[in-house]
């Protein structure tokens, strides 16, 4: 696999060499480093980032050369890997997990001429930006489909940890489902792990046997989709299109697309126009999309979802538009208001419609 990729790279380089005048070739490729938190695998968080890395290579060709390190623990090792990229002549480093934040910050201070991009964090600096995607927009659309497809009116959700990003997803999913089917309830099971296929599967099986006929997950494996396929219920993929793991069950997926963003960022850095920003992109920016819809979804529902998707893309609709009422019945957002990004980033409650309780952590 790796060898083939390298071969193709060199083959395309040779083709370029034949076509281009020598002056362009003399220009050295900009080196770009990627730091991944888990093995790349075939689906999931890191896989989407690696796909984007390949898109970047494809779109900028010989102008860039990318390298990656996978399975980098979110501890002291991360700083060394990030620094090694910076020190060995990489001009841009993408660090793709939350736990790298403080290490990126430190290395960024030491290497002012290198540009650092950190995913899902909240810190930034002069040469250090962060980026994330509004996954909850896709979740809302998943919720609409789930609300239309469910017969039992029970929806299942397997979550990793109760952090804001996951809560945004669960709440958006619930709001979406309730918007078309006010009687539904969403049941949540925490597996307290980002990646434990066995436990994720058990959690999905549990939800299904408690009556859920549509399930989804905010964890990193394909186990939930596979479990749904086995039990003949519906499921949504997350991170990646997981339809090959459950052709019948997979209704669609909220998929992550970093490729365009990476290309845009690299071009800006090369042109000298890049500025540190906090990027939080959604449908509008092409960072979140839906995987192809399963033909089992009726045409009317497909049209409904398409219409909402267009509104999200146009920026005329926000899933967290008030009134938003939490489980205790307290109004968290008044009617007509749109939740701002700070409130979204600090989310620590379930909306009405979620049947499970948040675990007591304090």
């Amino acid at each position: 696999m790796t060898d083939r990729r390298q071969f193709m790279l060199s083959a395309s380089a040779a083709a370029l060499a034949a076509a281009l005048p020598g002056s362009l070739l003399a220009q050295e490729a900009t080196r770009i480093g990627f730091v991944y938190v888990s093995p790349i695998g075939d689906a999931g968080w890191t896989y989407q980032h690696d796909l984007a890395r390949k898109e970047l290579e494809a779109s900028l060709g010989s102008k860039v050369q990318t390298r990656f390190v996978e399975n980098v623990a979110e501890g002291a090792d991360a700083e060394r890997v990030i620094r090694e990229f910076a020190a060995s002549g990489h001009k841009i480093v993408f660090a793709t997990s939350f736990g790298y934040m403080n290490y990126v910050e430190r290395v960024a201070r030491q290497f002012p001429n290198v540009t650092f991009l950190h995913a899902t964090g909240y810190k930034s600096g002069r040469n250090f930006g962060n980026y994330n995607a509004r996954f909850y927009e896709g979740r809302y659309l998943n919720g609409v489909i789930a609300g239309r497809m469910t017969k039992s009116k029970i929806l299942g959700y397997v979550g990793a940890f109760p952090i804001p990003e996951v809560l945004q997803g669960i709440n958006a999913f619930t709001l979406g489902a309730k918007s078309v089917n006010p009687d539904i309830e969403v049941r949540v099971i925490w597996v307290n792990s980002w990646y434990d296929p066995g436990k994720e599967r058990e959690a999905a099986m549990t939800l299904i046997s408690q009556g859920a006929d549509v399930v989804t997950q905010h964890t990193d494996s394909t186990a939930v989709v596979q479990a749904a396929e086995e039990r003949g219920v519906y499921a949504f993929g997350y991170h990646s299109d997981m339809s090959k793991y459950g052709p019948k069950a997979h209704l669609t997926a909220t998929t992550h697309h970093w490729g365009e963003f990476y290309t845009r960022t690299v071009n800006a850095v090369l042109a000298g126009t890049w500025k540190a920003e906090n990027i939080w992109g959604g449908f509008k920016d092409g960072m979140v999309r839906l995987a192809p819809l399963n033909p089992a979804i009726p045409a009317a529902v497909q049209a409904e979802v398409k219409a909402l998707e267009e509104k999200l893309t146009a920026g005329t609709f926000h899933p967290f538009t008030g009134p938003i009422v939490d489980q205790a019945g307290k109004e968290r957002l008044s009617a007509g208001a749109v939740m701002d990004d700070v409130a979204l980033g600090k989310m620590d409650f379930f909306v009405q419609g979620v049947a499970s309780r948040l675990p007591n952590t304090r």
Partner: protein, 354 residues
Amino acid sequence: MLRLEPRTEASRLMQWCSPLLAATLTLLAGLAIFWLLDKDPLEGLHYFLISPVKDLYGVSELLLKATPLMLCAIGLAVGFRANVWNIGAEGQFMLGAVGASGVALYFAESDSALILPAMLLAGALAGALWAAIPAFLRTRFSANEILVSLMLVYVAQLFVSWLVFGPWRDPMGFGFPQTAMFHDAALLPTLLDGTRLHLGFVFALGALALGYVFMNRSYTGFKMRVAGEAAEAARYAGFSARRVIWIGLLSGGAAAGVAGMAEVAGPMGQLTDKLNFGYGFAAIIVAFVGRLHAFGILLASLLMALLYIGGEQAQQYMNLPSSISMVFQGLLLFFLLGSDVFIHYRLRIGRARA
């Protein structure tokens, strides 16, 4: 025909040659693996052995990575010599980190110079406390310390997770499982400007020196070695088996606790739920490869650290999967344990004389 013949006396030469033999065999196996993967073996060796230490910064990183390994391994060696099998240093490491973090968070307002010593003490005590559980259960109920200390690793991991998701979660941290960053007074000073090598490395060297004096020069250390090598003789000589167990486990726990403290007060600067780096388990390999001897542990921890960092670089520059480091670590210990047979046996050619 080849056969093994017992030596009348353990070979001191082999005692020290066996790790070298194991390292050489691991090296050869590494070359073979690179060759099988169609990678240039020399390039592989370059990234594993030379590139990580190509400059001062690289050396400082090597020493930084070796610090927790040294600390955990020297503490474990004290117990291992006396046949006390603490394999829960991983959990004691985590508890040490928790103890130190507790002090740092509680005195977050203070910039007293006493904070670091207090964190060091809290880390060592918390680690020792976690190791005291298997020690107590072993001496009081003769419960096997291997299994108890191993179980407690999982409990420690869950305990850390509860702390950073619950009471110690940074209120300004957007709900992520982490404590607030420690303030400057709670961070270990670096030894070399521009590097991350911190005072913890000096703790590690101190622990090695202390371990050497205790194990090789003190009477208690001698008694513990006798207890390990000949339990009957020790009992006959009136050495307390209980004391041996307590000392063995507590020193392992305290040293691992200091390692945990040095990690959160050093390169991490906060406590997160991602503390399961495997230093406590890797330290068992280090202790064995280092012959349970302070000087050997120094060398072995550097070798292990090199394997870790080399694995990263092999990934970065040769596209090798990260798991190759684990394969090499496993091989190193296999070869060491295999070579050790020559300490007590010699290889003979021909049939045994009856």
